[in-house]
């Protein structure tokens, strides 16, 4: 699948067109659910679900986890969990129709695939920790909160870009 799929992959949409669609989806989310979009919260809920099966005692004694899974509460009984499942379906669908499904690794020319996987894993850890620290990820905090003028969300957005640009030069070997 990989080689041929890559060759026939359709070009990406114009960023302003994609952005406009994103804005419309976000608006519909506010209109229909009252909340914006999100991605990191539900991953947390999947995790807590598993944790609650393995160690319910522990979950019931950890203040941060109680609202999600304390007692009889099912952490998956939440609209955002379904939104996340939707993201996977939507991403897959677009990848399928635009011939962009491929078992490949995106990386800079100067590193090996293994290095890239390790760095992706490490970056994922930072992102996961940071997103929970900031009470939301780029979508849930930045995009959604930004559109409804939350001060904290704009501070967060500036911080993400500031954090990224401040280490970009140092880590240029990864990508350039």
């Amino acid at each position: 699948m990989s080689e041929t799929a890559l060759k026939t992959a359709k070009p990406y949409a114009n960023p302003y067109v994609a952005g406009t669609l994103l804005g419309i989806v976000l608006f519909l989310a506010f209109l229909l659910t009252g909340s914006g979009l999100g991605a990191s919260g539900p991953i947390n809920r999947f995790l807590v679900y598993i944790e609650d099966i393995i160690a319910p005692q522990h979950v019931n004694m950890t203040p941060y986890l109680i609202p999600m899974a304390g007692g009889e509460t099912n952490p998956l009984d939440n609209a955002f969990v379904f939104l996340t499942i939707g993201i996977l379906i939507g991403g897959f669908t677009s990848g399928y129709f635009n011939h962009r499904l491929s078992f490949t690794t995106g990386k800079g020319p100067r590193i090996t695939e293994r290095t890239r996987w390790g760095m992706a894993f490490l970056g994922g850890i930072l992102m996961g920790y940071g997103a929970r620290f900031a009470r939301g990820c780029t979508s849930g905090q930045g995009l959604s909160g930004g559109a409804v003028l939350s001060v904290g969300s704009w501070v967060f957005l500036l911080a993400v870009f500031a954090g990224a640009y401040s280490v970009a030069y140092l880590l240029r070997k990864l990508w350039t």
């Binding site: 302003y16 009252g34 939104l83 939507g90 992706a120 929970r132 500031a162």
Partner: protein
């Protein structure tokens, strides 16, 4: 149609109307559209995302900020028309310093890992190996946070909580002005980042301003933002007018006037947080008021509702009271116009409260010492006049301000229907 939209503005109560599973299905459809849009924007490809930070391809900035300004114009446009109630839309609470620190960590993670959480899900769904590794790391990071936040950074994580705090409040201007300024600045920045891309890549193919469709799109957005600004966000009076037909019926049908005994039950109920709002003159309030009642002048109620009551947890019951019902009803309307849920009026006001409990308190708690008691004044008349006299301005230092009644069955029609669902964020 217009009137119907304004009487029942969004966010639509889909969960209450069609049940949980229909609501979840709708959330999933929104998620599908979201995932699809991210994928066609190129957000499933780490090299394209990381290029943002090496200035060679600023798609991340363009798509994100285009998304923000389009959604912003639509949200505040719909709010100006009365189709969407901004007060009930979830606005991420501002936790200033934890948000800043979390953002910085994520920025570093973005360059190291090449994705953000949402985009990594799209990468995973399109089988990208680095996306799979990233999602694995993501779960480890999220798990680590859940396990150590209580022990390590709990105080810091809960610090600088400014609640629902918007840019309009920060700069003390209308939402419309903020929307207009952000739209204009974002479009100027689109031009700038394309210029930077051209410089870095030594190309001339972008040239934002030389493309007709860009200019048309920009003009349309600026025009819409201008309309949003000129139309302005609805005033409290305007919002009441939109809801008046529905809400006035509730007043007339006496669905919102709760008996003193019902209110007492809620005060004693630990599962519900009760906020008692006393809107009488300060002098009457000082003479006598219920325990823990807060004095709010009728002129301040709208402001207070917006800045304080709207931020309170969903299990909060608000009861407004005056000497009778007239002033409390006015305050109730203002509270409703600010989209406060679970707000009621004390039936027959403070006078009704004293009529119900004054004698009973004397029976169940024989006087200790020479503590004064309110005395019925049969000459006092009128809705908003105290029907009792007080020998001193003791505020809530009367037994009847916090009555303990034993062995008495109250007969009343329960009216409180708590709505405990509130829009929340999903991270």
């Amino acid at each position: 149609m217009e009137q119907l939209l304004q009487a029942f503005p969004g966010p639509l109560p889909l969960e209450a109307m069609y049940g949980k599973y229909v609501f979840y299905l709708i959330a999933m459809v929104i998620g599908i559209a979201f995932g699809y849009t991210l994928e066609i924007g190129g957000f499933g490809k780490s090299t394209k995302l990381a290029a943002q930070f090496y200035l060679t391809d600023m798609t991340v900035f363009k798509v994100m900020f285009m998304g923000i300004i389009v959604a912003m114009v639509l949200v505040f446009g719909a709010s100006a028309m009365g189709w969407l109630d901004y007060s009930r839309v979830f606005v991420n609470p501002t936790y200033l310093w934890p948000g800043l620190v979390g953002g910085l960590i994520m920025g570093v993670g973005f360059v190291v890992g090449g994705f953000c959480p949402g985009t990594s899900l799209v990468a995973l769904a399109t089988f990208k190996k680095d996306g799979i590794a990233f999602v694995a790391g993501l779960t480890v990071g999220i798990f680590t946070f859940g396990e150590n936040i209580d022990a390590l950074f709990s105080d810091f994580w809960n610090s600088s909580n400014l609640g629902r705090f918007t840019l309009a409040e920060l700069f003390d201007v209308s939402e419309g002005i903020i929307v207009f300024v952000i739209v204009v600045v974002a479009i100027l920045l689109f031009g700038l980042v394309e210029f930077v891309e051209d410089q870095v890549n030594q190309t001339k193919r972008h040239r934002f301003l030389h493309r007709k469709q860009n200019l048309i799109g920009a003009a349309v957005l600026v025009f819409l933002a201008l309309l949003v600004m000129l139309k302005g966000q609805p005033s409290v009076e305007q919002k009441w007018e939109w809801m008046a037909e529905v809400e006035q019926t509730r007043i007339d049908q006496r669905e919102i006037q709760i008996a003193p005994a019902e209110m007492l039950e809620f005060i004693e109920n630990d599962l519900v947080r009760t906020v008692l709002i006393d809107v009488r003159d300060e002098s009457d309030f000082n003479l006598f008021h219920l325990i823990d009642a807060q004095h709010v002048a009728p002129t301040d109620i709208a402001e207070k509702a917006k800045n304080k009551y709207l931020n309170m947890p969903a299990n909060t019951l608000f009861v407004v009271m005056s000497n009778g019902e007239q002033d409390a009803t006015q305050a109730w309307k203002l509270m409703r116009a600010q989209s406060i849920e679970n707000v009621y009026i004390l039936e027959n006001g403070i006078n009704g409260w004293l009529d119900t409990f004054n004698d009973l308190v004397l029976e169940s708690e024989p006087l200790t010492g020479n503590m004064p008691v309110p005395m019925k004044n049969s000459l006092a008349a009128g809705d908003e006049v105290l029907h009792y006299t007080f020998s001193a301005a003791l505020g809530s230092n009367y037994s009847v301000a916090d009555p303990v009644i034993h062995d008495h069955e109250f007969v009343f029609t329960p009216k409180v229907k708590m709505k405990v669902k509130k829009a929340t964020g999903g991270g």
